[in-house]
Symmetry: C2
Subunit: 372 residues, 2 copies
């Protein structure tokens, strides 16, 4: 394949804040990066990143940062990402992989040409902190975080493998997902909660009783408003970027709220009780799911043809089935014979489930323990 | 006054769960209770309470528990409170004080006759735990918690003083409040958040995407749904008891949500940004308010006439002004001369503010350091 696979990895980070800076630190510490070239608009910030070891050199443009890199992270605000990704792809070596860390993925992926999709894979790590900026960057930021990847139909398998491997090395859990589905999921699981928190916070803030309602904030109110007022610029961008999906979830929420209001207005104790019971069941499922211990490592060797869409189809199908890909490897690729993709998963049952799923998609699969 | 003031205090607890059991433990440890007599429907539960030291004797009825007590806590579910309070008042000695720990106060207070209001004061400590039952009772449950008290117009000052003093002794912060205002405040700060959490949780739980949305729950979703699915029976009761106030807050929330939805639908970045900024300001105010260090103790000696409504007027006026009463004492009461109420507050400025407020209500006030 390409020269970076044998040894050193050259990383570039466009936009060196909390996310980009932490990527630089983790790349050097855990992923064998020999250089991390940083670019951003603020020179003082880049000097700080250099002093902290988050980057090893400063570039004076997106293009010059990308020119010498094998793996390029665009960690700028969501609305700038497509432009920066394009410029990085143009300037980067032909083998280089470009990705981002933005909270929405649909407009990025649909904005790329088939050719650009070969080496650009959207990314979204589910982590962050209230403390922004490279000053708060830390090597462990990504540890244990779900890290969504959105490979396009035309993705180069080697590019996907490189990024997947990098994400695993920095301690995150890569999960492939369709970009539109990613945005709908985030609208529900992240953007809607932020809207609710903001509305509740301001409702209490302007409440007109004789005493300040905020002084009566107990644990439940504090939980519900912990993310209220998060970074105005970042969140305005996210809300607008994911407007359609968020509007759909807001509509859905209003339906649910009207249902509860109706039950209350008619003093329907059964309906209220059943809503609470359903929430209890759902919450129990959430807590159980997130505490499942990973099983012993198994592998699936999947025979794959050399045609577009294969990597995306396999990884997204496994992701959709909630099967976590612990590691991925690609062997013997040739245009005529195709090749073999090895996928590692946790637990024998999960391995069996994954094999059934891929066989259902007409792939030939061999399974076994990862270490025999 | 009465014999319990000089020495031992006899407490009764009707309904010995987490709240009642913790009251019993704290009464014995911190408030000089020599006996805690418990009554509840479940005999095994009472035996457990006895074994844990939360009560010292078991009664076989509300009436027999109340008969030998100076201070009676009704800690049963909200819809049973009024009946239990009434029965306790009837059976208790003429000096005894009855209170409850329910989450709503309006229907209790409006259900009491003037005569019953003399010795019954509603109470609502802002504490609790996901772990219910006397098995989880602990002596420190009330420490640091705001503890709302709703004295009626006809409250006996000595009864209020006894309860206020008890609440302080177990480590909570007593705050007097009008019962209707209490219920509106709780509708906004506690009951609305619970409804929102339940609606959000079930929306995510039944989401119909190809993968289970709950597996993508990040920190914000977890914060917003921490109280989802809380005790079905208890919360159905609370929602219904506080129906009118909660419906008003739900209506208000829907207005706020429509405003955000409209801003999003029209891609109004300024409106979205301003909503976030307002939430940030409100949240900052909440965090600042709750971390203010209490000041040095000052006292106000207030000359009061012997007529109904005085205690309620003074304590609720101070509560409405967010002035925390650290301690309260009553001297020289007589029907002809009235008496003096000493109120302790934290900080010289707060003391000045309290004096201005009470002078504005035509009380004669003398202020000074608590310990000269």
């Amino acid at each position: 394949m390409d020269d970076f696979q044998g040894g050193s990895l050259r990383v570039a980070v466009i936009g060196v804040g909390l996310m980009g800076g932490s990527l630089g630190l983790a790349a050097r510490e855990h992923a064998g990066a020999t250089t991390v070239c940083g670019y951003g608009r603020n020179r003082d910030n880049l000097e700080l990143a250099l002093a902290r070891g988050a980057i090893t050199t400063i570039a004076d443009s997106v293009e010059s940062a990308a020119a010498g890199a094998d793996l390029i992270f665009v960690a700028t605000p969501v609305r700038l990402v497509l432009d920066h990704v394009r410029r990085a792809l143009q300037a980067a070596p032909s083998h280089a992989v470009v990705t981002d860390v933005g909270s929405t993925k649909g407009s990025l992926m649909s904005g790329l040409t088939d050719e650009e999709q070969r080496r650009c894979i959207g990314g979204h790590p589910l982590c962050g902190s209230e403390a922004a900026g490279v000053a708060n960057a830390r090597v462990g930021l990504y540890e244990g975080a779900t890290y969504f990847l959105t490979p396009g139909t035309h993705v180069d398998p080697a590019a996907f493998q490189l990024l997947h491997s990098f994400v695993s090395k920095i301690g995150a859990r890569p999960v492939a997902i369709d970009p539109e589905q990613h945005d709908r999921l985030m609208a529900l699981m992240s953007h809607l909660p932020h809207v609710l928190a903001n509305v509740l916070m301001t409702q209490a803030g302007r409440s007109s009783g004789p005493r300040d309602a905020l002084l009566a904030a107990g644990p439940s109110f504090r939980d519900l408003t912990r993310v209220a007022g998060s970074n105005r610029r970042v969140w305005t961008d996210i809300f607008l970027e994911n407007r359609a999906a968020l509007l759909a979830e807001l509509e859905d929420f209003q339906v649910g709220l009207r249902r509860m209001t109706e039950a209350l207005a008619t003093s329907d104790a059964d309906a209220l009780g059943e809503a609470i019971a359903q929430a209890a069941e759902d919450r129990g499922r959430m807590l159980t799911a997130s505490t499942l211990a990973p099983g012993e490592l198994f592998r699936l060797v999947v025979k794959i043809p050399d045609r577009p869409g294969v990597i995306r189809e396999i990884t997204v199908a496994l992701g959709d089935a909630n099967i976590n890909i612990e590691d991925i490897a690609l062997h013997h690729m040739s245009a005529e014979l195709g090749g073999a993709l090895t996928v590692y998963v946790g637990g024998e049952n999960v391995c069996r489930q994954a094999a059934d799923l891929l066989e259902g998609l007409d792939y030939e699969v061999i399974t076994g323990r990862a270490v025999e």
